[in-house]
Amino acid sequence: MKDRFNLYRFASPAVFYPLAGRMMPWFAAAAVIFGLAGLWLGMLVAPTDFQQGEGYRIIFIHVPASWMSMFIYLVMAFWAAIGLAFNTRLSGMMTAALAPTGALMAFLSLWTGAFWGKPMWGTWWVWDARLTSELILLFLYIGFLALTAAIDDVRRADKAGALLLLVGVVNVPIIYFSVKWWNTLHQGSSVNFAKSSMAETMLWGMLLMALCFWMYAIAVALARVRVIMLERERHTDWARAELARAGAEA
């Protein structure tokens, strides 16, 4: 039994806490490096877009933020499913750690979308299918945060939040297609954000920025999950030892 590689071991907070602490700086550093490279390519090297002028450069943050807002929701739903199926403590902590970052990404996607829309369409907000879905995704994040904040018992909060995430993830495609259908029926504006004829430097810039956002989200979520672990496991031996060590540093 002992020499068998055991995934469950990593799900134990006593093992995961120091592991997360060791991994976090690497992800943070990767985020900074990818970010600098992406900004260099996207903001300094890439030529202008002949249709949209310099305003197109907003996509270097808009697209990564939108991707991450959706991706984080999926990752949270994945952890939720694991948590409900195997009753692991780690999964609830992971969803709690990811949710604020996901909500911020959804907010950034909407904010940058508005700043892109103003010069392109002349209004800050258009009921475009994608923007509307992003807004609803933000509502779903807020619902999750509000529900888990309202429940005092941590175990119940984890499970209720996990169930809400699964219900949400089943509904997201239905919502997306209904909004899309609504949008075409009302002949609203549909937008092509990223043209397929994008210059190669632009594509590379966007890819690097997406990697930057991804690494950033992992680093922040790891940092947050460590705090949550300390809060929840304060009566265990490893948390006491960790608290003593953290006090010596400060």
């Binding site: 509000a146 175990r155 169930l163 809400l164 699964l166 219900v167």
Partner: protein
């Protein structure tokens, strides 16, 4: 199986009829919200006709929300819910019964009174018929999805507001297809496509939601 569902429906209806004031208040809420809109936007018939489907549907969403917090709260308080959860028959069936009972006292009355309100908005007879049908077909989905939210927020402080935060975003497809059916009828495109999608949503919600609610209730009862 149907025996259990029918028994729960019968019991919940009996309890609901003892509190008729709740049913009537939700209905009047619907009437008042809908009647406020012409006062807010002006009485031009063309504008009202255009707004009617959306206004009536949004008001219907809000009106069904009103009675949701009580869906499980009373049974939770007096311990009935715990008994039901321990009983040998699956809790999902019990919830199915409760959802149907909730629809009978919340969605059904809305559908019956909606055409009267539609007249205020100068809708044609055909549009009124589609509106009634759409609310009739769509509100069961609202009761079903709402039950998940009611179960998740069971016994929490500020549960009512929280419930609306959780449930309203999930109501959006029903709103789109429900209002869309009336819209399409008004503009002469025909609302059949919307109505069939609405039926699909209702069946999906009624099949899936009671079991999700049952899981949420078990979490709340732990």
């Amino acid at each position: 199986m149907f025996k259990i569902i029918l028994a729960v429906i019968g019991r919940d209806l009996k309890l609901a009829l003892r509190r008729q004031a709740d049913i009537v208040s939700a209905l009047f809420f619907f009437v008042i919200v809908v009647s406020l809109f012409p006062l807010g936007v002006g009485p031009e018939p063309d504008l009202l006709r255009q707004l009617a489907p959306g206004v009536l549907w949004v008001a219907a969403l809000l009106a069904t929300m009103l009675s949701l917090p009580r869906l499980f709260a009373d049974d939770f308080r007096d311990g009935t819910l715990e008994q039901l959860a321990l009983a040998p028959h699956p809790l999902g069936l019990v919830v199915t019964g409760k959802v149907i009972a909730h629809w009978l006292v919340s969605g059904l009355p809305l559908a019956l009174i909606a055409p009267v309100l539609g007249i205020q908005f100068d809708l044609s007879a055909e549009a009124l018929a589609v509106l009634t049908l759409a609310i009739l077909l769509g509100t069961p989905a609202l009761s079903g999805i709402g039950a998940i939210g009611a179960a998740l927020t069971l016994g929490l402080r500020g549960g009512g507001v929280l419930l609306s935060l959780l449930v309203l975003p999930l109501y959006i497809p029903v709103l789109i297809f429900g209002a869309g059916a009336v819209d399409a009828t008004v503009s002469g495109l025909g609302g059949e496509g919307h109505l069939s999608l609405l039926i699909a949503l209702t069946f999906a919600a009624l099949g899936f939601a009671p079991w999700a609610s049952a899981a949420a209730l078990k979490i709340a009862l732990e």
